[in-house]
């Protein structure tokens, strides 16, 4: 019932966690390999995988900045939170995909893990 670790593209991720994709013109060929769930951005910066996804409940421009510095390809906002228009603009400029899901952080992370996206330390 658990999938082997594998890469996943943005449309499939959005489908699994029933997420709305908030940014326009994203690259559908981006492959996500690993993920990190956190509300504290310095904890995110202690994470070092490439082709990563960030799941968070935090809404502010520093989330996009952190994603930029970390080469994070996509950010998922959980618990029904929506990114601000200014954050969407900033992310589009930097080529970062933003998604929003109603699932809580734990459930959204669990669904993606179960389908093959893993994290650090495995």
């Amino acid at each position: 019932m658990y999938s082997e670790r594998r890469n996943m593209k943005i449309p499939e991720i959005a489908e699994i966690i029933k997420a709305e994709i908030c940014t326009k013109n994203y690259d559908p060929t981006i492959e996500i390999y690993s993920a990190c769930s956190a509300d504290l951005m310095s904890d995110v910066m202690a994470f070092s995988k490439s082709n990563a996804l960030l799941l968070t409940g935090l809404i502010n421009p520093q989330v996009i900045r952190t994603a930029e510095m970390m080469d994070i390809k996509a950010v998922i906002f959980a618990r029904g939170k929506k990114p601000l228009e200014s954050m969407i603009e900033m992310a589009e400029e930097k080529g970062i995909v933003l998604m929003a899901t109603d699932y809580p952080l734990f459930v959204a992370s669990g669904k993606l893990y179960k389908n093959g996206i893993h994290g650090r330390g495995e």
Binding site: L40, M41, S42, M45, L58, N60, R65, M69
Partner: protein
């Protein structure tokens, strides 16, 4: 890229909207001159954490950046309260940031250790009530 690139930035106090602008700009320069992506990432993390520290703890400050063909040197200084116990401040998880900062996603007590981990040379000069200066060097090879 034999010439030296020098940049100076002002880091405004308590402005979370533009915090990270200087780091973002330096990141762009490094990518443009062809520095390897993993080195760009290490430099970005170290500088961004130091920039955020100046915003959170230092009442803002300045960043001075020098890039030559072998390395980048980043000097971030503030005239804030200084660090009373630097050894303690370097410990992962130790933070003096108030809850208002944690609500913004910072103050996890990982900033200085993230800077150290991503720098090749890190020097911190600090004095209580005088301020803090962080010297970060990252080599390109």
């Amino acid at each position: 890229m034999s010439s030296v690139v020098v940049r100076d930035y002002i880091i405004p106090a308590n402005d979370f909207t533009i915090a990270g602008d200087a780091s973002s700009n330096v990141r762009k320069i490094l990518s443009q001159i062809g520095v390897a992506p993993d080195i760009v990432k290490r430099t970005s993390i170290a500088m961004y954490e130091a920039e955020i520290n100046a915003v959170i703890h230092g009442n803002g400050g300045q960043a001075h950046v020098e890039i030559d063909e072998n390395k980048i040197v980043i000097i971030i200084s503030d005239q804030g309260p200084g660090i009373a116990d630097l050894e303690l401040a370097m410990q992962e998880g130790y933070s003096t940031a108030p809850d208002s900062i944690r609500e913004m996603g910072f103050g996890a007590g990982m900033g200085l250790s993230n800077i150290k981990k991503n720098s090749d040379i890190l020097e911190i000069k600090t004095a209580v009530n005088e301020g803090t200066t962080v010297y970060i060097t990252v080599f390109f090879k």
